[in-house]
């Protein structure tokens, strides 16, 4: 029930905002409401496509197939798809119940298992973005200030290479050099039995994964910052600030940086949300027991309940980062008004 109340309250608040708010907040609220609609349709499509597939039975000598069929029947897997579909939404909205694991984590509720895995995924991404922000900003600012000089060329070329090379290549390089040759880290991360999640050892064992993810994020952040700041630096108000008597450093820190941050900040948040969805392969390589790993396992053993819950998670991630990016684009060029008539 709580889920219903929360969602309906959210919708009411959003609707009120849309009604009384300004045009920008109206746009944002509209986007968020559309996000719910999109999410609903995507989940519907996925649910129907998944239910059209034959239900896999666990092939095990110890398990009686008849018994398992009886269990599936009790869980309603043999009912018509539309009935199952309504039950699915009923369970999700009223109890936040995503069903039981069938092939993967058999007979354990799906959502708690996923919540157990979530901290790993978030931590690895959070660490890598926390490392990437200062380095990316510093390189970006430096490149923008030295625009078209050799320093800028070196940074831009490096950034180009680092954004192009796939993340798993970094993972292999990190594993080969830091883990195998230098033996600084283990190849895979420690398990919870050895050390708690928030501990120094766990952090150290996550470092290879964090570095492998961090290369790409740092490079992209450098690129945004350089592009944004170098555009701001050519603005007329920068000339005005200098004419007023500000030193170059003052003008940059008080005017240029602030203005470019308006765009860079949402980018950073969007990037954070984006890499949570994109670290599947890194989780696989370093054996991080996060959501990505569960997703790949669920696909390979065809556990449909996990598949649905993970689809929900990744879709929400994608929608949220999309909205943030769109909003930040609106800041970049307000002259482009999306949705206007011919």
């Amino acid at each position: 029930m709580t889920a219903i109340i929360v969602i309906s309250a959210l919708v009411v608040v959003l609707a009120l905002c849309a009604f009384f708010g300004g045009s920008r907040s109206k746009y944002v609220v509209k986007r968020i409401l559309l996000m719910f609609l999109t999410l609903f349709v995507i989940m519907t499509i996925c649910f129907i496509l998944i239910k059209l597939l034959p239900l896999p039975l666990v092939k095990s000598i110890n398990k009686d197939v008849e018994l398992q069929k009886a269990k599936y029947a009790q869980r309603g897997y043999y009912k018509p798809i539309m009935v199952q579909y309504f039950n699915f939404w009923k369970n999700v909205i009223t109890e936040w119940n995503w069903g039981m694991g069938e092939q993967l984590y058999t007979d354990r509720a799906v959502w708690p298992v996923m919540m157990q895995k979530l901290p790993y995924t978030i931590l690895v991404n959070l660490y890598s973005i926390l490392i990437a922000i200062p380095i990316g900003l510093a390189f970006g600012i430096y490149a923008a200030l030295k625009k078209n000089k050799w320093q800028d060329n070196v940074i831009s070329t490096t950034v180009m290479i680092f954004t192009s090379v796939p993340s798993y290549v970094y993972a292999f390089l990190v594993q080969l050099f830091l883990c195998v040759k230098l033996r600084w880290f283990d190849l895979t991360i420690k398990s919870l039995d050895e050390t708690p999640l928030f501990s120094w050892q766990m952090f150290v064992s996550m470092i290879p994964a964090v570095i492998s993810l961090g290369f790409g994020v740092t490079a992209r952040l450098t690129r945004y910052t350089r592009a944004e700041l170098s555009e701001v630096l050519t603005g007329d108000y920068m000339l005005l600030a200098r004419t007023k008597g500000l030193t170059k450093a003052q003008a940059i820190s008080r005017h240029a940086m602030r203005n470019s941050m308006v765009v860079i900040l949402p980018m950073i948040i969007g990037e954070f949300i984006g890499i949570i969805g994109g670290s599947l392969i890194i989780e696989r390589i370093f054996g991080i027991p996060g959501l990505g790993n569960v997703f790949v396992d669920a696909i390979s053993v065809k556990d449909y309940n996990f598949f649905m819950a993970e689809t929900f998670f990744y879709t929400v991630i994608g929608l949220a980062s999309g909205i943030l990016t769109d909003i930040s684009y609106g800041f970049i060029d307000p002259r482009i008004r999306m949705g206007s008539r011919k």
Binding site: T38, L49, I50, M160, P166, I299, T315, I336, R341
Partner: protein, 555 residues
């Protein structure tokens, strides 16, 4: 400053005025001056960008590699030589240099390992030790050896049962060419050594051990002294199985051959069969190796054919008419990485280019309609593309795989998955361009002059977006290649069962051996990195060429 206007005549005679248009259609009249074509202009600007030109040359080289190698190479994806698994990269140009010549450096090897490698080359002259042998004494007073080993000679020999037909054909080949394929069978052919191939232990093994009290135990002697003692027999066999490879040496320091002989019982480890001599089959016409006194056994007749000991190198030459030499080495299955890379690259190119072309067409049409008409049309179409676009790609790929893979195969299901969501980016670019340009004065002018919607879309507004969507399609290629490699790396799409390979498959096959055989992963990783960098540089160059005002905006 003088008034320049004064140079012109103030009065223009009335007869010089003439109406330009009366009945003619004027919305699109060609300029009369000679002009540089749009693409000519783009090409001129593109040529100036050196990095983009270099990138396109690189792409061409990789493309040629992917097309030419599968045509001319005798190895392909189905080529699997398990005897040559984990062979290191070799380019014959570098022979003997120690770099890229298929050799590996082994250091602090014990006596047994040294004896093993030393003996391996003695019969055929294919000496796996290609460098000087350095010796050293470790803390326990044992001699340690360091030397370089040719991995192509390392497989050595294999004891196996050949069907009669195959045996005859190999025998014929051996007699015809004089290349020795069959080698004498050692007495220990039925011992399963720990860590050694049974074909490669052909010399007399040192099966002595020093116990805690410092006494020397010779298991072989013990067994010969008490041939009926089961424990002694067992101890002897265990000692053989767990041998370190150490050899018994004669006075000159050479290993002593331990071949089956026609004059001796077949296996002196088994006393109850003492009377069985290997005369069941004995090829009189066998081509004998040096040092054979005529009693060595080259084949044993067994059920289903002949048990023989073949030289793996020469057998390979016979079967493929090529000496084994793999430019990028081989992987765990003994697949040629060079050829697999070409096949995988070809798959990536075909997939990426066809996805781009299809997405180009769909995206251009969809985006034009959306952007030009706007309003409710745009709203509805945008919702549809939103829904498709926000479906996580991995989910789409999985659903297509689960539903279609069995019907149309993995490549088609992958192609459908890419096409289903891939055009959205292009459509969004086109739509954006339409919003940007449709309010411009020239469009208004053209509409005023009577141009139809279709004409406005395709003749006036769409060409403006041509540059961005060509760039967009090219810049989408590295994404497709990456996604494909990721899906095959995660084994979400399975190409191997259909006899295909891709870069992701090769990477995931090589990952367990990253620490021991990094070359398996190195070349595919290098290939895909160069490909991605080149496509990005090429795409950026194209973008700058098509739209000079955006120069350097995003790189």
């Amino acid at each position: 400053m003088e008034n320049r206007n004064s140079e012109y005549p103030q009065q223009i005679p009335a007869e010089k005025f003439k109406l330009v248009q009366q009945d003619r259609h004027l919305s699109d009249v060609k300029l009369e001056t000679k002009r540089i074509s749009y693409f000519g202009d783009v090409w001129r600007r593109f040529k100036r960008d050196r990095s983009a030109v270099v990138a396109s040359v690189l792409i061409l080289i990789l493309l040629l590699f992917s097309i030419v190698v599968p045509i001319f190479s005798y190895t392909d994806v189905s080529f699997r030589e398990e005897n040559y698994a984990f062979v290191l990269p070799k380019v014959s140009l570098f022979n003997g240099s120690g770099f890229w010549d298929g050799t590996k450096y082994l250091d602090s090897q014990y006596q047994g390992s040294y004896d093993y490698y030393r003996a391996l080359g003695l019969e055929s002259g294919m000496d796996p030790i290609v460098s000087e042998v350095k010796t050293d004494t470790d803390a326990d007073g044992e001699t340690r050896y360091a030397f370089r080993v040719d991995t192509y000679y390392e497989p050595g020999y294999e004891v196996k049962v050949l069907p009669a037909q195959e045996y005859e054909s190999l025998l014929a080949y051996q007699q015809e060419t004089g290349i020795q394929v069959f080698y004498p069978i050692p007495k220990t052919y039925n011992i399963n050594f720990n860590g050694f191939k049974k074909g490669n232990i052909w010399y007399k093994l040192d099966v002595t051990e020093v116990d805690q009290d410092g006494n020397l135990i010779d298991y072989e002697q013990n067994y010969r002294d008490n041939p009926l003692d089961q424990n002694a027999k067992k101890a002897y066999q265990t000692a053989l199985e767990n041998t370190s490879g150490k050899a018994v040496l004669d006075e000159d320091g050479n290993v002593i051959p331990n071949y089956l002989r026609t004059s001796e019982p077949i296996d002196d480890a088994l006393p109850e069969e003492k009377q069985r001599y290997p005369k069941d089959y004995y090829p009189e016409d066998a081509q004998r190796i040096a040092g054979d006194d005529g009693t060595y056994v080259y084949a044993l007749k067994v059920q289903g054919g002949y048990r023989v000991r073949i030289n793996i190198y020469n057998d390979y030459v016979k079967r493929y008419n090529h000496e084994p030499s793999f430019v990028f080495g081989t992987n765990v299955y003994g697949q040629d990485i060079f050829a697999c890379l070409a096949y995988g690259g070809r798959l990536s190119f075909i997939l990426a280019i066809s996805v781009s072309l299809i997405n180009f067409v769909i995206g251009a049409c969809y985006g034009s309609i959306e952007g030009y008409f706007g309003g409710a049309t745009d709203m509805i179409m945008e919702r549809i593309s939103d829904i498709l676009g926000y479906m996580p790609f991995i989910v789409v790929a999985t659903l297509f795989k689960l539903h279609l893979q069995e019907k149309v195969g993995p490549i088609w299901s992958l192609l459908f998955a890419f096409v289903l969501t891939g055009w959205i980016g292009i459509a969004a670019r086109v739509r954006m361009q339409f919003y940007r340009f449709k309010g411009h004065e020239y469009v208004l002018a053209a509409r005023t002059l009577g141009a139809s919607d279709r004409r406005l879309i395709f003749k006036h507004i769409f060409p403006n977006s041509l540059g961005t969507i060509i760039t967009g399609s090219i810049l989408a290629i590295p994404g497709v290649i990456f996604s494909e490699s990721m899906l095959s790396y995660l084994k979400i799409i399975d190409l191997e069962t259909s006899g295909l390979t891709s870069i992701g498959t090769m990477l995931s096959n090589g990952q367990p051996y990253l620490s021991t055989y990094p070359h398996i992963i190195l070349f595919p990783a290098l290939f895909i990195s160069i490909l991605e960098i080149s496509f990005n540089l090429f795409g950026n160059g194209l973008r700058d060429a098509f739209n000079p005002t955006l120069r350097g905006a995003e790189n």
